[in-house]
Symmetry: C2
Subunit: 238 residues, 2 copies
Amino acid sequence: MTAGLANVRALAFDVFGTVVDWRSTVIREGEALGRARGLSVDWAAFAEAWRDGYYPAMDRVRHGALPWKNLDELHRIILDGLLERFAIAGLSEREKDALNRVWRRLDPWPDAVAGLTRLRRKFTVATLSNGNVALLESMARRAGLPWDAVLSAEHAGHYKPDREVYLRAAELLDLAPDEVMMVAAHKSDLRAAAGAGLRTAFVPRPEEWPNRRIDVSFEDAFDIGARDFLDLAAQLGA
Amino acid sequence: MTAGLANVRALAFDVFGTVVDWRSTVIREGEALGRARGLSVDWAAFAEAWRDGYYPAMDRVRHGALPWKNLDELHRIILDGLLERFAIAGLSEREKDALNRVWRRLDPWPDAVAGLTRLRRKFTVATLSNGNVALLESMARRAGLPWDAVLSAEHAGHYKPDREVYLRAAELLDLAPDEVMMVAAHKSDLRAAAGAGLRTAFVPRPEEWPNRRIDVSFEDAFDIGARDFLDLAAQLGA
């Protein structure tokens, strides 16, 4: 650990893709639904399209085209389009809502719970996600994620990578920005966190997009590069 | 449990006095400080005066005489006045700050952790306190309070009993107000929660103010009256 990191008190984790494996969970639940309803759907394409809808939907909120909507609501708007596009007909309102809540039931990456538990001995561990509080809290209960604090874009009324989200998290933790380290698998998130004065740890998750060429290389621009959360704990002396 | 309570999904707990015993912790830490510094102070009077300063300080924020300040900051403003009033001189800035943070180190009532652990099997358990997020999170780590969510007046930018605090908590939990039950030892808090549409459980804590006549009687106006959190769990079938 470099000397400049000695004052880090809290770790703020991106969640979708960094802590939990959205892709395989959405595929698994989609396949189960498909079997139950006799649907023939490419659930991997469906899962990826759902996630691909996420940034444009948030950008509509970020740039004022939509009033604030939480992530459950944005996921549902995207889902309604996908049901049409993938010709999935006949779901009741209740079934659509249950499917939409798959984002509350995502499985953690295999190292996540053990790594967070270890990191929590030395640091405050918090979410810092675009997911809404209820979503993150439901996910944590089911998956056993030991958060000290569930911090969300919802608390700032802005979505990442807006600067307000990172600064609001530091404020809620009663810490200076450089006492908080953002942990994420996505470089854009880390660059925005660094721009707001936070420390950064890059933990690549190549399995998030197994069929896409994504940038998983370590960079000196981030304070730490770690293979997974257990490696992060080792590097941080936790 | 009455039928109308069947849709309660989350319990939102007042914290100071309801979950934790601020009085005896402040007295104990004060006495330790007094021994270390050779001070002669009535620490029970000091503790009660600190708490008595809480409502007027919040009211100054609620009515606009002060801009938003979190509870750590309000506690510190009150403390600075008390140090003068109780003739406690010679503390460094660092010692004052450490003393102020006693509110993050409060001990739970004896039934609190066991009761919350049991209630959490059936309900989402959250704080709903005027304490700021960092304060509540530090307290929870130290005391082992198993919150699913740390909800605070800070999230609403209002202090209880302002209606916005209760409604914001329901919104963050993604629940209707009547799916949330406020649990408190203070009737004014419960009356305000009920006014915002929440369910209410009164859990009197006669030891909070052992030398004052406080109203600890059960009332039909509240959905539940319970002796402690274990009794609350029993009444709610948890």
